[in-house]
């Protein structure tokens, strides 16, 4: 083997398995899998566990594919931002072409096999999610409007709808509420992250709200969406998938979320209670907030499943 060939091969193949996994944006993938799994389980109807797990793998791969394609397109801005500079493409471990091929392969694979394992409606929704995230959010909105993450958040909100469709082959009212729960949750979550990483987006020239309208306006918008978030959060409690346990939990969760959002927005009395960085507190709590919502829905389902008298109790609440 000639020296030049070996050198060329070495340069092209520096990626480890870990780097490919990093391309999948594991944290986002985790959220997609959890929300889809909960929706799949609590949806009316039955699903074979093998089909459910296989479908979840496809949904996770689809979410990962969207992450990989997002990193491929945004590699130029990832390299100038501190938060994203260690990602596989800007750090030189994976080439742009490798990321593109990997993302496209996973996209087609996940959509085709979700269609075969579950149903074609769920596959269509998964394809729509990936296309929306890449074509609408990453390629169009992200570099053009400060409302980028508000509209783009729709793609992150679709996994529970896909999970619901896998079980029922139809889009239920409850799954639409779950969609709006994540949709209204995304702006406070992401803007609190932007407030934490001040200046990072100005370097990359991304028109984030913190850069175009300033921190005060961003904080006001955070509070606005935190209030909007109350609507789907409470509406779910009065549907067939909600119940007393979920209702009590979300009263506490929403109270804490609003407390953080109002503290961030500069409500004088509340602000005095905060010792640490308010944006960081809201960001970290927002992650727990969403996970807790879906875990409570799962707990509600399990209670109804194992304790028949609890279901009657929950039905009274729905009737009220």
């Amino acid at each position: 083997m000639g020296r030049s060939v070996l050198e060329n091969e070495t340069i092209l193949s520096q990626a480890s398995t870990h780097d490919y996994i990093a391309l999948l944006k594991f944290r986002v993938m985790r959220l997609a899998i959890l929300t889809a799994a909960v929706a799949m389980v609590i949806a009316p109807g039955t699903i074979n566990p093998v089909v459910a797990i296989s479908s979840l793998i496809c949904i996770g791969m689809g979410a990962g594919a969207a992450g990989a394609l997002n990193m491929w397109w945004d590699s130029d801005i990832d390299s100038v931002m501190v938060r994203t500079s260690a990602r596989p493409i800007p750090s030189g471990k994976i080439t742009e072409d490798q990321a593109l091929s990997f993302g496209l392969f996973l996209s087609f694979f996940s959509v085709i096999f979700l269609g075969l394992f579950a149903n074609y409606l769920s596959a269509l929704l998964l394809a729509g999610t990936i296309a929306f995230y890449i074509l609408i959010y990453t390629m169009f909105l992200k570099r053009r409007t400060p409302q980028n993450i508000v509209i783009g958040g729709a793609s992150g909100a679709l996994p529970p709808v896909i999970g619901w469709v896998v079980t029922t082959n139809s889009i239920g009212f409850e799954s639409i509420l779950m969609f709006f729960l994540i949709f209204f949750w995304t702006p406070p979550h992401f803007w609190s992250l932007c407030l934490m990483t001040k200046g990072d987006y100005s370097k990359s020239r991304i028109p984030m709200l913190t850069e175009t309208h300033g921190e005060e306006e961003t904080k006001r918008q955070v509070l606005f969406y935190s209030l909007l978030l109350l609507v789907p959060s409470f509406m779910i409690a009065f549907t067939n998938v909600g119940g007393p346990l979920y209702l009590i939990s979300i009263i506490i969760l929403n109270a804490i979320f609003l407390f953080f959002a109002m503290g961030l927005s500069g409500f004088a009395q509340l602000s005095k209670l905060f010792k640490g960085k308010r944006d960081r507190q809201l960001f970290l709590f927002s992650i727990f907030y969403l996970f807790a919502h879906f875990l409570m829905l799962m707990a509600e389902f399990l209670l109804k499943f194992f304790l028949p008298f609890y279901e009657n109790f929950a039905e009274v609440l729905v009737w009220l």
Binding site: L6, E9, T10, S13, Q14, A15, S16, T17, Y20, N48, V50, V51, S54, I57, A86, S91, G92, K93, F117
Partner: protein, 60 residues
């Protein structure tokens, strides 16, 4: 992060990638097998795709 440019480092990474690729393919085969069994067990639409006319799938 320091990138290992040596041939040993390159071989180790390639071995690691190949191992996980093999694991993924094996997992995929197992998944297809299990889904097939699950769908066959449930009756499903399997009969509709085998090109044989069967009384059990004819509408009365």
């Amino acid at each position: 992060m320091v990138v290992d440019q040596s041939k040993d480092g390159f071989d180790a990474k390639r071995k690691n990638r190949n191992f996980w690729l093999a694991m993924s393919l094996a997992g995929f085969i197992v998944m297809i097998f299990l889904v097939t069994i699950a769908k066959l067990s449930n009756g499903g639409m399997i009969e509709g795709f085998d090109h044989n006319l069967r009384p059990s799938i004819l509408e009365e």
